[in-house]
């Protein structure tokens, strides 16, 4: 049994585990202590314990000063007061001080009604800012294609730093300058675009204010939708359908695939498609590439390349290893390529007049879509990328009553997908999908049980062996770039025995992406999205990518043999480049 201690909070005695903080104990006692910088994403392994905002100050008997509840461990017999005038006043003053150096443009702020500072000001009943004075003003950093840094709105909770340095080990963001002039940014306050930032967006996902946001593209989408000569097609990533509902008051984990298709159609898209089609194509290519490498003594392990943040990470951090990932383009880029070639041809549309919009749970896909090597004849495969949050904003803007929409289907031919494609949205999903196909292709037998449960879960690094009738395939899975780094170092040091490794940059995979609805520090939300992903997979009638009839038709009519076919190879594969590390 765990060792416990007794503490008294506001005259209420509770018995709690010894390793608890005052904040944990207060939760147990049913007492709310406001927090701001604190963040604990339990199973996703991210903890921000900077204790820097001083919003959770409480009184502890025998202690001359106040104690931060988030960072003060309990001890036996501790007597705590959260409700004394002294504590309440100090907490409110901390928020007042933050507000005294914060813009008050809440009404037109991206985070209006979604801002943790704003919510706190309301919760603590802040009615005036007594201590006015100098307010810092900095330039917006709009240098990158994916992330906007608005230093004026930063409250120095340092969550982004923890995400960037401890979880993702990218080391891009850290505190600069001292005192009142302290800001968070890259070394020498370089513009984001000049750093080796992967734009994974985890900093955005944990930012409590609008100091870090995605680059907004909603207006561009509206503009394209209303140009009469443009043919606008939209695709949505797997992780969107299990998260978008949260923005409309639905329970986390609600599956809204049908309403999503209906909503996009109401917005005016000419064709409403599914990135899952692209995911099925990806599996055709990737599984074949893996078999090719296995049979021809190619570079092993082969790493998945669906996640552009991860690809960018290896280019910058492990430039000597850019031949390790699969050369496959990511699913939405494959989709865009197919739309502007096969689909355009089939429908008789000038690819230059076709606009492909991707709705992604991701921030870095915005930067990926702008990679010049991915465009064909100066025509980008994907023209605009918006996040789940942006889509939610647009639907509200358009007055679409999401909740009341009927379930509709995606358009065809690029709207058909399998369960294998759905699970691309979670950590472990891409490799499971690949195994479902590789199994049948290698063994020539039908895979009866498609669930590879040994590949699932939330553990940061997972290992499993898949038995392909005598041939054992060793699989590694990592999510979060810190875990990816560990995997890569093992490969570099010759310690890795894997044949194939799946890597996703965001903790949890795309369901925990930087463009998803804010989780406000609740990792349960991400876990519920994961459950929903697997539920959606089970609901599908076809669960192996190579059995998708429209994919089969695409290869027959257009691409030729997966991986080896000339068109398949030219259109669906890319190359990675060693890049500088800054």
């Amino acid at each position: 049994m765990k060792e416990t201690v007794k503490v008294t909070i506001n005259d209420k005695e509770v018995e709690v585990p010894r390793e608890y903080t005052i904040l944990n104990a207060a939760v147990e006692a049913g007492i709310k202590i406001p927090t701001l910088c604190h963040l604990d994403l339990h199973d996703l392994k991210m903890v921000n314990r900077t204790a820097s905002c001083r919003v959770c100050m409480v009184e502890v008997e025998q202690r001359p000063n106040l104690a931060p509840a988030c960072a003060t461990p309990v001890n036996d017999g501790m007597v705590i007061r959260t409700d004394s005038l002294r504590a309440i006043r100090a907490r409110r003053m901390a928020v007042e001080l933050l507000l005294s150096n914060h813009p008050t443009d809440c009404l037109i702020c991206q985070r209006n009604l979604r801002c943790e500072l704003q919510a706190l000001a309301k919760e603590l009943n802040v009615r005036e800012i007594k201590y006015t004075g100098k307010r810092n003003k900095y330039h917006l950093d709009t240098s990158s294609q994916a992330v906007i840094k608005n230093q004026d709105k930063c409250i120095l909770c340092r969550r982004c730093e923890t995400a960037c340095n401890e979880i993702q080990t990218c080391g891009i963001l850290s505190a600069l300058n001292r005192g009142f002039d302290t800001i968070v940014g890259p070394a020498f306050n370089l513009p984001m675009a000049e750093t080796s930032c992967t734009y994974c967006g985890q900093c955005v996902a944990v930012c409590p204010t609008a100091a870090l946001t995605e680059v907004f593209h909603t207006h561009k989408v509206w503009e394209e939708l209303h140009k009469p000569d443009k043919y606008v097609v939209v695709q949505v990533a797997p992780a969107i359908r299990v998260a978008l509902g949260e923005l409309f008051g639905m329970e986390p984990g609600t599956i809204v695939t049908g309403k999503l298709a209906a909503a996009l159609r109401r917005m005016g898209f000419d064709q409403v498609y599914d990135t899952e089609f692209g995911a099925d194509v990806t599996i055709m290519e990737e599984a074949k590439e893996l078999i090719h490498r296995l049979e021809n003594g190619g570079r092993l392990p082969m790493l998945t390349s669906c996640c552009p943040a991860w690809v960018s990470f290896i280019e910058h951090q492990f430039p000597d290893m850019v031949d390790v990932p699969s050369t496959c383009k990511s699913p939405h880029i494959m989709f865009g390529t197919i739309a502007k070639t096969y689909l355009a041809e089939k429908m008789g549309i000038d690819p230059k007049k076709m606009v492909v919009v991707s709705v992604m749970p991701c921030v870095t896909k915005k930067a990926e879509a702008a990679r010049t090597e991915l465009s064909i004849d100066d025509n980008d495969n994907v023209d605009i990328v918006i996040t789940t949050r942006e889509l939610g904003d647009m639907l509200k803007e358009a007055g679409i009553d999401f909740d009341k929409l009927p379930d509709e289907d995606f358009d065809h031919p690029l709207g058909e997908s399998t369960g294998a494609a759905t699970i691309f949205g979670t950590t472990g999903g891409v490799i499971e999908a690949a195994m479902r196909t590789a199994y049948e292709w290698i063994t020539g037998e039908t895979l009866e049980k498609v669930d590879f449960k040994q590949l699932r879960g939330m553990k940061g690094i997972r290992e499993a062996t898949v038995d392909l009738k005598g041939q054992e395939i060793k699989i590694g899975i990592a999510h979060g770039l810190g875990n990816a780094r560990q995997m890569l170092e093992d490969i570099r040091n010759g310690k890795s025995e894997f044949h194939a490794i799946e890597i996703m940059a965001c903790p949890g995979g795309c369901i925990g992406g930087g463009g998803q609805p804010y989780h406000y520090g609740n990792d349960e939300i991400v876990k519920k999205r994961q459950e929903a992903i697997y539920k959606e997979d089970e609901r599908k009638s076809i669960r192996k990518s190579h059995e998708n009839p429209e994919v089969i038709k695409l290869y027959e009519e257009y691409l030729g043999e997966p991986y080896y076919g000339e068109r398949a190879h030219n259109l669906l594969h890319t190359k990675f480049e060693a890049k500088e590390r800054i």
Binding site: R54, R86, R89, L98, Y131, G133, R178, D181
Partner: protein, 549 residues
Amino acid sequence: MKRYRSHILVCGGTACESQESREMIGKFEDELKKTGYSEEVQVVKTGCFGFCEKGPIVKIHPDHVFYVEVKPEDIEEIVKEHIIKGRIVQRLLYEEPTLEKKIEEQEKISFYHKQLRIALRNCGFINPENIEEYIAENGYLALGKVLTEMTPEEVIQTVKDSGLRGRGGGGFPTGYKWELTYRNKNDVKFIICNADEGDPGAFMDRSILEGDPHSVLEAMAIAGYAIGAEKGYIYIRAEYPLAIQRLNIAIEQAREYGFLGEKIFNSDFNFDIELKYGAGAFVCGEETALINSVEGGRGEPNAKPPFPAESGLWDKPTSVNNVETFANIPQIILKGPAWFSRVGTEGSKGTKVFALAGKVNNVGLVEVPMGITLREIIYDIGGGIRDNKKFKAVQTGGPSGGCIPEEYLDTHIDYETLKEIGSMMGSGGMIVMDEDNCMVNISKFYLEFTEDESCGKCTPCRIGNKRLHEILTRITNGRGTEEDLENLKSLGEMVKESSLCGLGQSSPNPVLSTMKYFAEEYHEHVVNKKCPAGVCSMGKKKATTIPKK
């Protein structure tokens, strides 16, 4: 070893060196050679004597004659008169301002008379660049004793019994800190010497490192043995080049003599020391910020717990102790804890070095027993207020100490009493103010410093200190309101109670203490728009910071 009948001790501290004391050593040697006395009389470059205001200092040993403000052109006369003829050069003696009398011997000078030198015992006496001089003063004997006769537990108990508390500001019991670090089992532990002396005007740590570096090295090795560490770091400001140079010489010599390195005194104990340079951030004196800086990270504090004793440098158990604290250790080991704890008050044992400055006649470094009164330091040692002005306040503990008015001059000072009257021991800064000082302006001055030196991590210190400074600027510009006074107090208290580390927890001390003891002066500024001391411009010049309304 060669024996000399007499030694000419020339101060080689930073202040005296900046006034040509280095050249004077050469001149003394030339003069002795010229007159044929170089075999009989030795010139020694020592560490700081503490009486920096009267430097350069030259002391003739064993006569104890103490010459002040010596210039290169005086050398010939000192040699010819004092060394050769045995006649004291009267004009170079110190003149006691209160007595208008020349004093010959160091001990009889009022500046030294009430001092008790334990930490500074060798400063101004031995040549810090010669390990043999340190050994001659029982140097490394304590380390030998510890390694051959004592268990780590006994060492810790001795330090605990002595009652020694951290001299860097916190006043945490040193033996207890060692015990906590000792108890955390780990194969790797560290000792860190905090030599990031950041208080403006304080230079006791620099003086010790310049004047007696081996005492710190020896104490670090003792501490390493006590807690189970084989590696020590000295985190020293890069702005202390002379201290760094002497430390490097001392470490080299200690290694050569086997006091650092492997199997020290033929025991199984290995210990070595490395220097790490600080870039001058005030907050790096805070132990967790210091550790972050040693690790190569940003110099900013972490929330405690975990304390360094549990998880410090590279997450290993670490004991961080200040230079002056270490300088006491060898003496405690050699003379016993009872000898040390005889000096001082109930809760604060031993001595404390203060950097006495401001409007007193004798400015310098003084080591006094705990429990001495402020009056004794200011009037007896410091020789009273300059130009017969009236005493107004004394600020102790560095830029975030409080200002103490005349009514508390007879307080017997120690860690607790200073806290009770709204100030602190801090690292030992002591600045005396007279009737010409405006207390509102003084607190603005200190807040400007702490606002600048805030690392920016926690809200109260980052924004709160800025706002406090802005309010004080308004008041000293004649634009303050009574509401400003209320806000100043409530915000000052909040910053003190809510900040993450010692910097923010003490930065409002100057403003809170002056508001308490000199309320009338604030009132005059705000209500009558007058600065009684005539220091503040009160709106005659344009205000630099006018907050938008």
